[in-house]
């Protein structure tokens, strides 16, 4: 009875509101529009959807607090995965870093840990990511460039020298060769005498988005998925505190997707990993709590906040409804975020500091668990130490001075944010449904579906920008004829490559070749069988087999992937 009365009351209020809104439009808004117009023809979201003149309680018409939001730390986690959020502990400020040799990166890590950074994030160079040793012809010019070069157990020991692995959490941005880097990390931990259950950290290990957006793949999708499920299985037994995959929308967005695509494609990949793990015999509630996500924080401040809330709610619902999970930890979407590299400009580069600040603020207001803020000089070169420090300081100011971290989910209930949250969830659901129709994420990738959608969005965004509709400060408006010189930039010493090669040759010469060969041979046989590969890879790295040699062994068995180019 009372429910009914409430409904009647609510309907009456909404009718009144509608009337009042019409009146406002006729009497106040329209005359102003006629007289002055708006500053642009249309205001749009990242997918081109138009934004209305005003949002009112009418936009919350179907809003149901308990069902749509609930409380922080409770299903569906819209308001955050923990009940107190940043009132207990700020997010992890995690700057992705790594360049040159293991020695240089080791120094940078110690520098950052001393300055209050709370977790390590390792960037690897491209040969390491693609399974080539530094002395491979394919590695020419790339060694130590976008991250640190790791060829062998010796390099990994140096990288974590004087850093006790039981005290840090380490995030490694590594995918196609994730199994090898994880094995190297475990091997170093074993050497340091750290119990494997105390190793904490994350490997990105998200190969599906490599095919979609990032391009750093080696093997075809099928064997790649098998390696991933082998890692899942191995870690559950051996390294239980390790996050075995960081399902990444970051690169999907960087490649030009819309916010809805970022969430939809990323969660569809997440679904594929859960299905693969369940097919491999793992229980969803044992395994889903170890999944983590990684999103982009782009320019549209409010849409981005809504995006994070939508992603959290949708994942919770998927895990519960689709996979029948019962453990709340399985439904809790924890995610890392990084400010959008593609929004950085080479023109007036210091303006990037402001872009990064706003993006970081959106990530915090959206409830991120950890955050990387880009350095202002990254459109020009690899970041310098001082630029990285400034980026870290940006997070510290937001955390300690701005006051936004004192509220839990501060935007909840907003006429703008809640409908946007609903809309992004709905868009993402549509993409997931289309991918389901195509036979799941791997099959849709084979057909080029996600790639084509992203490419189209990227092209449209480029056109919109060039037609001047979207202003980029310092690029298509407010430009300077004389650019202020950016000052010192980081240059990786060209000698790094040769030094790394020399070191590798020395290492290779020091090995017992019969042990190397036998470890490679048993790895090959394991690859041809259905055995879990991880113990074989771990044994190989301990027997001083290099990253390139392990990858070559697997290439022989699995073959190599060629991209599916669609225009």
């Amino acid at each position: 009875m009372s429910d009914n009365n409430e409904d009647v009351d609510r309907d009456a209020l909404l009718d009144e509101l509608e009337e009042a809104t019409e009146e406002w439009k006729d009497d106040v808004l329209d005359p102003i529009l006629e007289k002055y117009g708006l500053r642009r023809d249309e205001f749009t979201l990242s997918d081109g959807e138009s934004i209305d003149d005003l949002q009112t309680p009418a936009d919350l018409e179907d809003f149901d607090y308990q069902e749509d939001l609930g409380f922080p730390g409770e299903y569906p986690f819209t308001r955050g995965v923990y009940p107190t959020m940043y009132r207990s502990r700020l997010w992890t400020m995690r700057q992705y870093a790594g360049f040159g040799t293991a020695e240089q990166s080791n120094e940078r890590y110690k520098y950052l840990l001393d300055r209050g950074q709370t977790g390590l994030s390792v960037a690897f160079d491209l040969p390491t990511q693609m399974g080539f040793d530094s002395d491979s012809p394919r590695a020419r010019g790339e060694v130590g460039k976008v991250g640190v070069a790791i060829d062998s157990i010796a390099d990994m020991e140096t990288l974590f020298d004087e850093i006790p692995l039981e005290d840090v959490s380490t995030s490694m941005t590594i995918n196609a060769t994730a199994s090898i880097l994880l094995a190297l990390y475990i091997a170093v931990g074993d050497q340091q005498g750290v119990d494997r259950s105390k190793l904490r950290g994350t490997i990105q290990n998200d190969i599906l988005k490599e095919y979609i957006a990032r391009g750093t793949y080696i093997y075809p999708p099928k064997p790649s998925m098998r390696i991933i499920t082998d890692i899942f299985g191995f870690c559950q037994e051996e390294v239980p505190s390790w996050n075995t995959v960081s399902i990444s929308g970051y690169h999907i967005r960087e490649a030009g997707s819309t916010a809805g695509q970022e969430v939809g494609f990323t969660l569809a990949n997440g679904i594929a990993y859960v299905e693969a793990a369940m097919d491999a015999g793992l229980d969803v509630d044992d395994f889903a709590p170890r999944l983590s996500f990684f999103f982009n924080v782009h320019n549209n401040f409010l849409e981005e906040i809504a995006k994070f809330r939508a992603a959290r709610r949708l994942w919770a619902r998927i895990v519960k409804e689709r996979f029948g999970a019962e453990n709340e930890d399985s439904m809790r979407m924890r995610f890392h975020s990084q400010t959008a590299g593609s929004t950085l400009t080479a023109q007036q580069p210091k303006v990037n500091i402001i872009r990064v600040t706003l993006q970081a603020l959106a990530a915090v207001m959206g409830g991120t668990q950890s955050l990387h803020t880009n350095s202002w000089d990254e459109a020009l070169s690899l970041p310098t130490e001082s630029a990285v420090r400034l980026a870290l300081r940006t997070q510290q100011v937001i955390g300690h001075e701005s006051g936004v971290a004192d509220f839990v989910d501060p935007m909840a209930g907003s006429y703008v944010i809640e409908p946007l949250t609903d809309r992004i969830e709905e868009k993402a659901r549509e993409y997931i449904a289309r991918i389901d129709d195509l036979g799941g994420a791997p099959e849709a990738i084979n057909k080029g579906f996600q790639q084509r959608e992203i490419q189209e969005a990227a092209y449209q965004a480029q056109v919109a920008q060039e037609e001047g509709e979207d202003v980029i400060v310092g690029v298509n408006k407010f430009t300077e004829d004389e650019e202020e010189p950016p000052g010192d930039l980081l240059k990786v010493d060209e000698e790094v490559e040769q030094n790394q090669i020399d070191k590798l040759r020395e290492f290779k010469a020091s090995r017992a070749m019969d042990e190397v060969e036998s470890a490679r041979e048993s790895l090959r046989q394991a690859a041809e069988s259905t055995d879990n590969l991880m113990p074989y890879i771990l044994r190989a790295v301990k027997k001083k087999v290099t990253l390139g040699e392990i990858s070559d062994t697997l290439r022989d068995v699995f073959g190599e992937h060629t991209e599916n180019v669609v225009f």
Binding site: P220, K447, G559, T562, E563, V565, F567
Partner: protein, 295 residues
């Protein structure tokens, strides 16, 4: 070859000089939908040929954009592991609309490839449009690539494409539905009038998984079988004659299209058009007059 594509007059002399050196290559047409994996199949086929020490030239045809006339030619993405092999030559070609583009330059390009001494010349097309079908008719053996899961496979494929097939390759045959496609093709073939003619070539139907280099040996053998059949049933000269006939036809129509292209927009063209508009001339009279202009 660039001159050929652009229809430059210098090309003609070169071509005439090369012509006596042609007639040695074996021409294979490979036609299939985008998404049928035909580039991967071509790549795998090239690899097999190279293992057998045969040199291969390939001409990969993709459609031009009807809006801008431009094109993105992306077939090489699948084939570029052969880029540094001197025994392989790959050339991407855009259809360039219908005014003397494809039909003009491609027959010339394949002649150049033939004269360059390649053992095999592959002609890869999407098989859309009469232009492309005319081109693959230059081939001695035509392979049509089918794939499961593209809807009503057989019915959807244009009749012209089905008719030219000497071999059907059902690619991506590790996908569901491959056997159904094979069955459908065989059913269709059995309804063909010549099915009962003992001497006629009955197209072979085989399954491939190009990404895994599977079914390529049988495909190669099928091509050889068709070549043997051709040799048994027609003299070399007859086969050559058939191709030359198609070639000359294409050269004529290509030249014709090119001349029309040059006529478009000229004052003569405009004045006849105006006359037809004014109803002082009929379209046929205008055509007669313009025809004289071209020749």
């Amino acid at each position: 070859m660039r001159w050929l594509d652009d229809g430059r007059p210098e090309a003609r002399a070169e071509l005439d000089a090369l012509y006596p050196h042609t007639g040695n290559a074996y021409f294979i047409g490979i036609t299939g939908h985008p998404g049928s994996g035909k580039s991967t199949l071509v790549d795998a086929f090239i690899r097999l040929c190279r293992e057998r020490d045969l040199t291969v030239a390939c001409i990969a045809v993709d459609p031009s954009s009807p809006f801008s006339g431009g094109a993105i030619l992306g077939d090489r993405v699948r084939m570029n592991r052969h880029a540094l092999d001197d025994g392989v030559f790959i050339r991407s070609v855009a259809t360039r609309g219908n005014l003397g583009g494809l039909s003009r330059s491609t027959p010339a390009s394949v002649q150049v490839m033939d004269a360059m001494g390649f053992d095999i010349v592959l002609i890869e097309t999407v098989g859309v449009g009469q232009d492309e079908i005319d081109i693959v008719r230059l081939a001695d053996t035509n392979v049509v690539v089918m794939v499961p899961g593209l809807g009503d496979d057989i019915q959807a494929t244009k009749a012209g494409v089905m008719e030219i097939a000497d071999i059907f390759a059902v690619n991506k045959s590790d996908l569901d539905g491959a056997d159904r496609v094979v069955r459908e093709i065989k059913t269709m073939l059995s309804m063909n009038e010549s099915a009962d003619d003992e001497d006629a070539w009955i197209p072979s139907v085989l399954k491939t998984v190009a990404t895994h280099q599977e079914g390529l040996e049988p495909l190669f053998e099928a091509v050889e079988a068709h070549r043997d059949w051709l040799q048994a049933h027609r003299s070399d000269r007859d086969r050559d004659r058939q191709r030359i006939e198609q070639l000359v036809r294409l050269v004529i129509s290509g030249e014709f299209d090119a001349r029309i292209g040059r006529l478009l927009g000229t004052d003569t063209w405009k004045s006849h058009l105006e006359a037809v508009l004014d109803r002082t001339e009929t379209p046929y009279e205008a055509a007669d007059a313009l025809f004289d202009e071209i020749f």
